[in-house]
Symmetry: C2
């Protein structure tokens, strides 16, 4: 039976060799697997997957996050301690996963680990801030990189690790439909199922355990949708106080912005969350040509070409909205002009 | 490079051998690939996939359906004629795909093809009504069977055929999350991507071409949700006139009921559509133990254990709602008692 990515027999030949060469340096170490603030499926999946693999290799392992594990992802964390920065054992060396930059896990974590031992990530903007950097921007998820490293090096993947890595791939590909979904993504999913990942159980946990409040939040978001830029941009707003009103939390906004993008003709979907003294915005595009990471960067944000975000203080919703629409309008016009020329 | 399902090198060794043995009998024939009434993604995907493979083998091929190809699936049908039963060339032999029984394509089609040449399907209730029957109830989709047959026999799969077969797998697995999703499903997805299927393009066509009206309909449905049976049943209502009001059609209700089911603790989601002089209802369950087909049958409806529906004339919404809740309450109590005993 063979599930192989290429004739070389490896999913990620270059990174996997370097990873194997790094492992001896970890011998006997306590390891903190560090994820980013407001962790998502790929973050928690990467943390649990890597933590369990390292546990099976004999390491003492903890996971560390600034924010708690979201309710819908807690099914993955059995047997793995998730700690705050100041709870991490002093001797631990850190492996950062799914963290585009050194500060993504929060300033406390950055200060706690001024030079992380390793950094495993698939974000475009990750320039490598650790001693050992495993970066692959072609991977659909950090979990895809980790699964590749594990299979290529025949590391021990138990059913929960398989489930965790599978979960990260599912969430970061939008259920296998973002443009990063490749042949390798499916081969790895198949290999993870062979190791005990259960697609239907993951689907139930992720998509069939919504709170009534989350559906109220969705309802309010849908009611707020407005078209801009001649129907190319669809923008929705969550006003201040809506979490209390609907009995939800910030993590319940996950996935809302996809509804704004899902409309025929819309190129960019936007979610604006009003915060005390500022705003948070998420941008989702259908075509990487619009480079939403560049748009977000104009507002001190970042991300991927099709999925970016930002936090801004000291700005009103009205002013931000106008500036964002102007930036998107410029970008869309420029891209469409360039497309028309080719 | 190898993408293989088993050490035998075949995805479906038994069916594939029989399929290869059948092909010579089709030599020189005009073929009608027949799908079912109200076709879905697996039906159209199977028809287009098989039609293109047979075209590449030199056959004249048409597709035949009682109902038109839905808007969101028309991206697959370029270059393939989709005809009504009475438009099919008289000399054509028929291959039925995704049709659980002989009458699923409609009575006209059944009369036109009293003994189909072949029948390729994954439904449990298919007992084989054709000369050659290719049935595999473990397959997640009829497209999974067709892809297996094609890869195992090295039949020509062009990018559009790959896209079509991939589409059927995506839709019939609910984006790789129903319990039928297996390791083979992912291996075939990988193999189809290698043949030119584009997951992101399929995702865009299926899930990112919503009409603004459809989102309004969703918003209205979410606003109507009410819990019953102690939170085990969630019920939503589309009142008479809502299609005109939101600029939508009956086909836009597709998928709404899944939101009612998606809430944590809910076992059964219900959508009631008010119709002139009656109602239409859809039931979706998380656990086959609740046998929603039996509930629907009490109201002259039918379906599967987890997905059933019914149409009722001469009943008001209030009366039907009360009767349905009583029936669901009885069933849930009975099932829970039986579960408690075991």
């Amino acid at each position: 039976m063979s599930v192989q990515a290429a004739s070389s027999g490896a999913f990620s030949p270059k990174l996997s060799g370097t990873f194997a060469a790094m492992l001896p340096a970890l011998q006997g170490q306590t390891i903190a697997v560090v994820g980013h603030a407001r962790p998502d499926g790929d973050c928690i999946g990467s943390q649990v997957g890597l933590a369990r693999i390292l546990q099976a290799l004999g390491h003492t392992v903890v996971c560390a996050n600034a924010d708690p594990v979201p309710r819908l992802l807690q099914f993955l964390t059995v047997g793995i301690p998730f700690l705050k920065a100041d709870e991490v054992p002093p001797e631990a060396v850190a492996i950062f996963v799914d963290c585009a930059d050194h500060a993504r896990p929060g300033e406390k974590m950055k200060a706690r680990f001024p030079r992380p031992f390793a950094n495993i990530d698939h974000h475009l903007s990750n320039h490598g801030y650790a001693e050992h950097n495993f970066l692959d921007t072609s991977a659909s998820a950090t979990c895809e990189i980790l699964a590749s490293l594990a299979f290529d090096n025949s590391l021990p993947i138990d059913p929960v690790a398989a489930q965790a890595l599978y979960t990260g791939i599912v969430t970061d590909t939008g259920q296998f439909r973002f443009s990063s979904t490749s042949r390798n993504t499916f081969l790895l999913a198949a290999a993870l199922v062979a190791k005990g990942a259960q697609p239907s159980a993951v689907g139930l946990e992720l998509y069939e355990r919504e709170s009534p409040g989350k559906l109220k939040l969705l309802q309010r978001f849908l009611a707020s949708l407005q078209m801009e830029c001649g129907g190319r941009v669809c923008l929705g707003l969550l006003p201040l106080g809506i979490f209390a009103e609907t009995g939800t939390q910030a993590e319940d906004t996950e996935g809302l912005v996809d509804y704004a993008r899902s409309i025929d003709g819309v190129e960019v979907g936007v979610l604006i969350e009003e915060r005390e003294g500022g705003i948070k915005a998420s941008l989702r595009g259908k075509d990487p040509a619009y480079r939403l990471d560049q748009i977000a960067a104009r507002f001190n944000g970042g991300g991927h070409a099709c999925a970016a975000g930002l936090n801004l203080k000291g700005v009103t919703t009205e002013i931000f909205r106008a500036r964002l629409i102007a930036a998107l309008s410029d970008q869309i016009t420029a891209v469409n002009l360039a497309k028309a020329k080719n």
